[in-house]
Amino acid sequence: MNMIEAINDALDTMMGHDPDVVVFGEDVGYFGGVFRASANLQKKYGKSRVFDTPINECGIIGAAVGMAAYGLRPVPEIQFADYIYPGLDQLISEAARLRYRSAGEFTAPITVRSPFGGGIFGGQTHSQSPEALFTHVSGLKTVIPATPHDAKGLLIAAIEDNDPVIFLEPKRIYNGPFDGYYDRPSKTWKNHEGGQVPEGYYSIPLGKARTVREGAAMTVLAYGTMVHVAESVLAEKGVDAEILDLRTLWPLDIEAVEKSVEKTGKCLVIHEATRTSGFGAELVSLVQERCFYHLEAPIERVTGFDTPYPHSLEWAYFPGPVRIGEAVDRLLKD
C-alpha cells in the first residue's frame, strides 16, 4: 500500500470498529478528499458519518469539539496544514484545554488529520511544517508517520486515543519514499518494507520512536519525509548512524533519544520546518540537558531556512543531501 491507501484503510478499519467515529472536512465526502484519503468511505458508511464541510477551519474544529463533548470520536481533515491557522483558537484554547479546565468532565478525543511538508512545489501555502505550533501547546499530541505501515497503525492509535491528536501526513511521501534528490526518478512504496501494511486492525503506540537503523557513529533524530532523506544521505556517505524516526513528537520518546545519544555521543536533528523556535530547538535542548556528559560534539540541527517556503527556489530551501552532508561532516570531524 502507499501511504494514502494505508490512511484510508485505517479510517475504514476504525469506522467499522467504532460507530462513534465520524470523518469530515472539505471535499472528504462524496469526492473522497483531494488526496483520496477518504475515498469510498461515504459510500460505505453513509453521509451522516462521512461528509463534506463548508470551507471554514474554525467551524470544522469547533464542530469537532462539540461532537466530542457529545461523545463522538471525530476525525476531521484540514486540507493542508498551511490552512489550519483559522482553526487554531478552537484547537489551542478549546480542544487542548477541555479535559483540564473541566477537570475531566468533558474530553476531546479528536484526531485532526492534515497533509504537511514540502518537496512538491507547493509554494508558500502548500508546503509548511507547523508542528512546533502544536508541540508548544499543553494538551495536544502531535504524530507524524514516515511509512504507510506506521501511518495506519499510528492513525488507528490516534483515533483511539482519548486526547486530541494532530496527525500530520508528509504528503511528499504519500506515493513513495524520498531520498532528497529531486532530480532522480521517484520511487513507490512497493518494494519498501514500510509499504507492507497488514490487513485489518493493528495499532502502534503513541509516544514510541522507531529505530530505522542501528549505528554507532551518531544519533539522527528525524520524522516524516526527512527520515528517508537522512537514511539515504547517511547510507551514501557510508556513515554508521543510528537513525530514530520519532513518530510521535509529543509526548516524545525521551528514553529512546537518551539511550541512543548516550551510546553514540553525537546528535543530528533534522526537520523541514523553519529553524528558529522549531521543534528541533526542543530536541537539541533536551539532548543537551540530559546527555551533556555523553556528548562528544556540539549538537547539529539541519532545518529549512527562516523564510516562508519559496516556490521556484524550493530545492535551495529544502534541507537536502548537501545541507545534511555538511552537518554530518562537522559532527564526524570533532
Binding site: A63, V65, G66, L72, R99, Y100, F106
Partner: protein, 458 residues
Amino acid sequence: MHGAPAASARGNLPPLELHVPEPHSRPGEKPDYSWLEIPEAGSLARPDEACPASETWAGTLGMVRVLDEDNRAVGPWDPALDPETLRRMLRTMALTRAFDDRMYRGQRQGKTSFYMKSTGEEAISVAGAFALAADDMVFPSYRQQGILIARGYPLEEMINQIYSNRGDRLKGRQLPIMYSARDYGFFTISGNLATQFPQAVGWAMASAIKGDTRIATSFVGEGSSAEGDFHAAMTFAAVYNAPVVLNVVNNQWAISSYSGFAGAERTTFAARAAGYGVAGLRVDGNDTLAVYAAMRWAANRARANGGPTLIEYFTYRAEGHSTSDDPSAYRSAQEREEWPLGDPIMRLANHLIALGEWSEEQQSEMDREVAEEVRTATKQAERNGVLGHGFHHPFHTMFEDVFEELPWNLEEQAAQAIREREIKWPERVGQKHSGDKPRTSAQGSTESANEDGRGEGQ
C-alpha cells in the same frame, strides 16, 4: 520612505471619511433613547414553528413582546403559563440576582479574585432554561449563571468554584465563574469568546448523527457576535440544519464598547439570520414571557428537525462588565435607570400582581428568603476555604488532566513543584503529603480535594 500616501484631491470628489461609532451618551450626559423603537407588546405575529425560515425574517426587525404597559400578557406570543410556573421563574431570577450581589461583595471582601454579575439579564437565562428540556445541552457564555441556578445546580458548588477552594470541582484551575457542570447539561465555560457557538452546532450535529432527540443551545453577547466563530456556527448550523438555538444577548455593551462596534448601527443582530437562511427572532430580553415563548418556539422547531434559530435578546447590562470594570468611565450613569424596557424581575412581579397571584409582601418575603438561601450556601462553601487562605487542591492536581495519562515531562515538573513547596513554605516541611504523587485521571483524584493544604504563605 514608505507609508500611507498623503491625502490627494481628485477632481471634485469629497475626501473619504472613516466612520467610528459613538454611543448615544457618555458620562455626565443625559441618556438618549430617542433612537430606540420599541414595538407594542403583542404586535408581532407568531409564525408556525414549522414555517420556512424566510417567514421569520420580517420579525427580526420587530420584537417579540408579551407584557404590555399595564403588565398584562397580550398577543400571539403569550405562552399562557400557569401562575405557579411564573412564580418559580420569578423566584429563580431573584435568586440569581441575590447570588450575584453576594458574590460581588465576596470579591470586594477579598474572598475571590473576580466576579461577573448578570443583573438585568436574568430573564434570558432563567426563562430560557425553563423553556428547554433538562437534558438539552447548553453552551453558555460567562453571563448565563441563571441557567445553572434554574437547573438546580447547588449554589454551594458554584461558590466553591468562585472561591477556588478545596471543594471546587474544577480543582482551582479555572477563573471564577467559568463553571462546568456536565450532569446539568452545562458545558465548560471558556474565556475565549464565541468558541462555544460552533461547538454547540457540533454537539447538535452529533445528536442528529446519533438519531437522538436532544438539542443544543448556545449564548454569546452582541460584542462576541463579531467573532469569526459566529459566522462559522451560523454557516454550519444552516448547512446541516442542526438542531440548535443560537442566542445573542444584546445588552448594548461589550465592556466599554457600545453595540455599534458589533454592527448595531446598521441592523439588528437577529437580522443576520436572514443571510444564512436561518430562522430569526428578536425578543424583548427583559420580558420573561417573551423570552420563554421565543426559546420554546425555537426549541420546538429544532426538535422537530425544523432546523436552527438565531434569537437576539434586547436587554441592558445594568452593572459593570465585571468586578474589574468601572462603567462610569465610559457611559452615562443614568442609562440604567432610564432603560425603556425596565427591569425583568419587576416586570414579571408586576404581571403576577396584576393577575392577583402575587403581592408586594410576598415579593419582600421572597427577597428575604433568597438572600438567606445564598447566605447559607456561602457559609457552607466558605468551610472549604476562600481564595488565598490555603484550602486549595494539592500541588500534583495542577498536572493532572492535561492528558488522560501523565507524560514524563509532567511527572518531572510535578516533582519540581512539590520540591519547591518545601523552599517556599518551609513551615510545611516534614508534614506528610500522601496525596502529592501525581496520578492519571484513570486512577481518579477526587478524594484529594479533602487534603488539607493550609498555610501556604498567602
